[in-house]
Symmetry: C2
Subunit: 344 residues, 2 copies
């Protein structure tokens, strides 16, 4: 069986570590692996399939001989090094937002638009975490009934903002009685002027604001969904909110279909979809929750209900681990699809 | 100035205490006050305007001579004692769901439908907490531009489930590393078969499920909103979610208007509305959050955005203290309106 030289760029980050674990767990055909990071993290040790590797500082030459490079070290690092990796013959699977809306770059969730991988010119973008789990739930509905409108409100975990955000939540949570005056220096955005406590709070800002009053996170969900689903006429609206949850994004979705299936037909479409698990039994209080989805691969869908006024309208509750299917797993699935479809 | 004999039924509960504080703070014209509760809580002492009162066990005769009785002791207590109070000449302002959808009972948020108070036959119902703050934000939009559709996803605090839920959140929050296996015995519903941890989680169930897959909390928001706003044709959909927040409900609202105002016009309508405070300056990261709204009277509205596809569509983020405007304050405002409009 053919095997591949793989590099992980940003190997010491939360997503980089998940990428390594997914490669191990899914037994991806790795010949050699290289762990890359900034000079600050270089020298750390990482164990992969029982062998110990030293993290190297990334330089353009790091990508010599690499077949597949998984990037998750921030947008500016991707902008700098992804072209260098491509120049040296690697296919880059980039988990940052640097190239996602580039017309030359496929933006891929394998369950939805695997065929787009054939159009790649060296770089393939991994969508935003909150987009990935949403389109996994939307795709079976679009395929079977047509999809015209999506309104999503998110309930997002702090792990999407990195390990500092997790530590801040942990520290603040320990001081229940001082919640209102807890020190904050990470959320909503590390580089922003103002920081707010996340413990016992809900912050309706993820990423910076754009000029139209939406945040970048909200605009990512809107624009990426249209690109992945190949439908510029699809109406998408998003409100993105950060919660005191460690890992696992939840989404309250309202969808309008072209057809008017029964709730049971919608449930069946979700149950039969790849990568998605139906978890919907109200009479037994069965529905997905982030605390239970953390660490798991699937996109869980429950609380499926018919809108009471619109026969084409449905409500769904979608939960998935934002570091797994929302990031590392999807990147590794893209690599698997490149191999499986003989694109690489 | 005329003054009134007031009773608080459920005086030792979280809302009962807030009712007492609102009566003090707003200087409601109280002649005599009686604090009532079940036999279990009788004998406790409560201070009102510097004087100490002993909580009495409620019996039908407790309401002799009472002008206004504020009830917040659970639906079955209201069903039993409210008619007894009315029989003795009191006007009952009931904070439970017992009579809310009764056609003979006005369901009132003074900023929205104060005129309905004139139709009372002894009992006036205080709406559900999540409904009250929503209709306060919707009313100015309906008045100025007409309102056809509302889709709401809630982010609700545990204080709505009582002091046991607050204690459970506090205990679970102290054990960050054990979140997934935390002991739970209160949420989502005390009497339900299954309980789930709320710390570092989001539970998409508030109250029990009805047969159509919606919870009672969701159906309350849908039905109460139509009743308060006098519009059975208004399309309302709700998804209600419990969060690890102590006090303060947040709501992500999508509304469709009959007209197509600018975002600035929508902001002005909100800014000018009674009981509502505009808190919407994205460039300075100003938006409402539950941790900051706790303990305050207002309904705060921010994140106002035009839908990108529908010129009649707008998104709003609405936050208020569920124990204050969501319960005790609204009940006391109803009492004030009864006095002010000379209905009592």
């Amino acid at each position: 069986m053919k095997s591949y030289n793989v590099a992980i760029m940003g190997a010491t980050g939360a997503v980089g570590q998940q990428m390594k674990e997914q490669l191990e767990k899914r037994n991806f055909p790795v010949r050699n692996i290289v762990f890359l990071a900034s000079s600050r993290s270089a020298g750390q040790e990482i164990t992969f399939k029982g062998e110990t590797y030293t993290v190297q500082e990334a330089v353009p030459e790091s990508f010599e001989g690499i077949d597949i490079a998984l990037f998750s070290a921030g947008g500016s690092i991707s902008e700098k090094f992804a072209p260098e990796a491509v120049k040296r013959g690697a296919v880059v699977i980039d988990n940052t937002s640097a190239f996602r809306m580039d017309k030359e770059v496929p933006l891929v969730v394998p369950e939805v638009n695997k065929a787009d991988l054939r159009l790649h010119k060296g770089i393939i973008a991994n969508p935003n975490c909150s987009t990935i789990q949403m389109v996994c739930a939307l795709q079976p509905l679009k395929e079977q009934y047509g999809l015209s409108k999506v309104i999503v409100s998110t309930y997002q975990a702090v792990s999407g903002a990195g390990v500092n955000a997790i530590n801040e939540l942990k520290k603040q949570s320990a001081d229940f009685d001082n919640a209102k005056h807890a020190e904050a220096s990470v959320l909503p955005v590390k580089s922003a002027d103002r920081h707010y406590p996340i413990a016992f709070n809900a912050i309706p800002q993820i990423d910076q604001f754009t000029d139209n009053g939406y945040t970048y996170e909200e605009m990512k969900m809107i624009n990426e969904t249209k690109k992945i689903m190949h439908d510029e006429t699809l109406s998408v609206a998003a409100t993105c909110v950060r919660l005191p949850v460690v890992t696992g994004h939840s989404e309250s979705l309202y969808v309008e279909l072209d057809g008017a299936p029964t709730v049971e037909e919608v449930r069946q479409a979700i149950a039969n979809a790849p990568g998605v698990e139906l978890m919907d039994d109200p009479s037994n209080q069965v529905y997905p929750m982030p605390l239970m989805a953390a660490g798991l691969d699937e996109v869980f869908v429950g609380r499926i209900r018919a809108d009471l006024d619109n026969p084409r309208g449905f409500h769904l509750w979608v939960v998935s681990d934002n570091l797994v299917k929302g990031a590392a797993l999807n990147s590794v699935q893209i690599a698997e699809a490149l191999v499986g479809e003989q694109i690489i």
